[in-house]
Amino acid sequence: MSAATELTRAWANGAGFVREVERLSGQKVASCYQCGKCTAGCPMAADMDVAPRQILRFLQLGLQEEALNNSTIWLCASCMTCVARCPREVDLPRIMDALRQIAVRRGRVKERRVYLFHRLFLAGVRRGGRLDELRLVLGYNLRSGQLFKDAAKAPALFLKGKIRVLPEKTSGAAEVQQIFARWEARKP
């Protein structure tokens, strides 16, 4: 057996997936000519397991497994530095968004805690219309098993009036809940 990746099969298997990424992101993966400027400017690149450029290379070849199963798509901070500098005007963060959405759909989340954070965030917004940072942090620490992360900082914040004990109330909350509900309803 050869260790080499067979590209026609990869493409046959992955073409649909690539098209879905292109639809969700509004980007054309063929636009990228692999210059690496995105990776060069990415603040998170050093902590990623594959370079941002390589995400596009995977997509160009239809390698969906590689494109989805990595930490990179989760570590993208959406800082848009790459977009600002890309000579081919590829919006890589939009592609990252699309890949994360597909990864979630397929249950293939490599950075579960990052995803957990986003889920809790949105759950909080859904619940109260506005974000309750205390509950988000507590919930995240609880669910991610790092109960006392940053605990040292909490009292000071509390004393300085930065943390509300009771969540804010807004009459917009109901409307937000409806938005979420309608959004959920139209999901395939």
Binding site: V114, R130, E133, Y140, S144, L157, I179
Partner: protein, 288 residues
């Protein structure tokens, strides 16, 4: 001038100083802020990580509220500003998307209300107005104006003067008498979106790069216009034993000082890294 005010979630908690000082400064500059009634969260990055349409619907609701008021809207938080502006842009250019979003909202969306950042808003009043309103120029205060990501990118939508080397914040601070330093990391990411996750080591590294850069350029303080950047820089600076950390201010705080308010009034005492000491050294702590 009258404008709708969208504080966003952070300004009601970790960014409360920004809210305090922002309102105060606007008042001084004759900008009347009318807080959007029943505003809700913009969804921030968690929404667009999850779904593009949802990520547009959450800000769109707030834009629709401004529409109802018949006012343009300002968002001091760079993240909120970014979401609102991007949403407005996308919905203006994609009727189909706009229809989808309206369906989710259950209310019409016109896109009439324009979105402005607080920096932009202050700048639009004019450097001259700032200069005139300044009671005690921040003479000799060397600051590194830090814009971060969300005020300048995506440049095509946000239209900053220069996405790699913006000047708006620098000009306002200079008008108030401060000395903005030239430094290379004005728009580098601080990693705030990971501040609350377990990738804090990345965040610490990015913050250190910014702080080192500002210090190398001779700055005594970093000035931000974003509550996420602020709390990140304020809380994640790791200083070597014996070294003093670099205080981090909202630009509205420094304007407030220049305009003659006291540090306490502006909430400067609420920082993690003491921001009052530097002001006290210059004799600017009290109101004049």
């Amino acid at each position: 001038m009258k404008i709708a005010y969208y504080p966003g979630c952070s300004l009601h908690s970790t960014g409360i100083e920004y809210d305090l000082s922002g309102r105060r400064v606007c008042q001084d500059l004759d900008i009347e802020l009318q807080e959007l009634p029943d505003w809700t969260c913009c969804g921030a990055s968690s929404a667009h990580v999850t779904d593009h349409v949802l990520a547009l619907a959450l800000p769109a609701r707030n834009l629709a509220l401004a529409d109802d008021l018949g006012l343009d809207v300002t968002a001091p938080c760079a993240a909120c500003y970014n979401r609102l502006q991007v949403t407005r842009h996308e919905l203006a250019h994609d009727p189909k998307l706009r229809q989808e979003v309206e369906e989710l909202l259950g209310r019409p969306y016109t896109g009439r209300a324009a979105v402005r950042s607080l920096v932009d808003l202050v700048a639009s009043v004019g450097e001259e107005a700032v200069r005139q309103r300044t009671r005690r120029p921040l003479r000799g205060l060397k600051v590194a104006a830090y814009y971060g990501c969300l005020l300048v990118r995506p440049a095509g939508i946000l239209q900053p003067d220069d996405p790699e080397n913006p000047q708006g914040l620098d000009r306002i601070l200079a008008a108030a008498g401060a000395e903005p330093v030239e430094w290379p990391f004005k728009t580098e990411c601080c990693g705030a979106s990971f501040a609350l996750t377990d990738h804090t080591e990345v965040v610490t590294r990015l913050v250190a790069q910014l702080v080192d850069g500002a210090q190398a350029a001779g700055a005594e303080a970093i000035v931000t216009a974003c509550p996420l950047c602020h709390s990140n820089l304020d809380m994640r600076q790791e200083t070597a034993p014996g070294a003093t950390p670099l205080p981090v201010y909202y630009f509205t705080e420094l304007l407030g000082i220049a305009f003659g308010h006291s540090a306490a009034e502006l909430g400067i005492g609420k920082h993690s890294i003491d921001g009052t000491q530097l002001l006290a050294q210059h004799g600017w702590s009290q109101a004049v």
